[in-house]
Amino acid sequence: MLSQGKSLAGSFFPAIVAKMGSNEQIATALETWAGAKFGADSKVDALTRLSGGASQETWAFDVVTDKGKTPLILRRAPGGVEAARSSEAIGLAMEATLLTHASKAGVPVPPVLGVFENDPDLGQCFVMDRIRGETLGRKILRDDEYAAARNVLARQCGEALAGIHSISPDTLPDLPVSNGINQLEKYEAIYRAFKLPRPVFELAFSWLKANAPEPLPVVLVHGDFRLGNLMVSEKGLASVLDWELAHIGDPREDIAWLCVNSWRFGNVEKRVGGFGDLPDLLDAYATAGGATLQPRDIDWWEIMGSLKWGIMCMIMYEAYRSGADPSVERAAIGRRVSETEIDLVNLLEGIRNDA
């Protein structure tokens, strides 16, 4: 969903010139790789495309040997062509590198088994373990199966975020750098370019500018740490997925993004993702080596998060308005911007009443 937001600087839907990789080509190429990795008798089975948008494809497949079946995931640039990816998303090789660093830092992530830079059949992609679990927010928040997981998830998210934020940016290849003020400026420029004045957004921009907190020392920020990108099992957090918006920035961004009401799926009273309480997350975060933060330290970034999501919805509607994507879904998303407006009103009212 976020993919269009990232490509605004250029065209909305970059044309993919070279389409490589029919299912058959991909399966054959994976089988060659599996032969070297798992043994010559390896077969690739059940190759299925799970999702794919403008920014990345995800495929599931099994490697079958006489010893058994290994469930795997292929993450691939669309049509295998890295150039089609938008300016802000990091490359697939970088994503694989981050997963390896995250794993070393104790963050639950799928082990990366193979990286392909420019494979003639696969293009740009990497292979990782397929972790069992659920990513659908509503199921994680409602199903009995995840009742025990919900009790521990806020603390586990705090620990995982502390792990991610402990990875020294100096040890990583170059990543985009983006702090709170950078993001405020960027999203304001996008909003103004639409020439669709929204008074609630104006108030949010003004308030955020007037009340920007001192930046914290920069860390590796996941960039999209929220329900939908967290794999959850009955025991809790199983895996942190979708690292393509990772950047160097403020640790509070990740914590607040998980709190944005848009991902609480109706459970407004549970600030952390609709499942947990912020003091629990912050306590686990500090205990695991993260900065010591209070819930009010997250307010500015949560308002920023709601505003960002509102403008991302405007960007998706813009794809309809500009004629780039005439689908009813793109038109309809323009009528979800008001969800973020009410969240902003509620948050700003809380700030005013506390003042």
């Binding site: 308030w207 009401n261 309809a332 009528r335 008001s338 969800e339 407006e341 009410i342 009103v345 009212e349």
Partner: protein, 127 residues
Amino acid sequence: MHDAPSTKELVEAVKRFIDDTASPQLTGHAAFHARVASNVLSTLIRELEQRPEAESAERARLVALLGAAPDTSLEDLNRDLCKRIQSGEMDLSSDGLLDHLKTTTIAQLSIDQPRYSGLALALQARG
């Protein structure tokens, strides 16, 4: 001009067609888009019922809040409001501003997404 069937009746008829006839025959992406289309028609029905009154109330509030001429268009009023917020002339502490924005957003969301959790929260806080 006649209006039998009315706009609302026509929209309702199309929505019933999507829900009862078209959707059950669709799968995958097309089924998803049919659901979205049906929801859009629900929005449209609410819009027909609620927008005229909500907009005239919004206009009256803005004329009072901005001290504008009573015949100023809603678009101009909102543009003026945005300018005043952007320039810092009005902010979170300005009398009546947040209250106006809240009332307007509640009205908008009651049309757009009446089941959104943030709407219930806003109404509850209002008492």
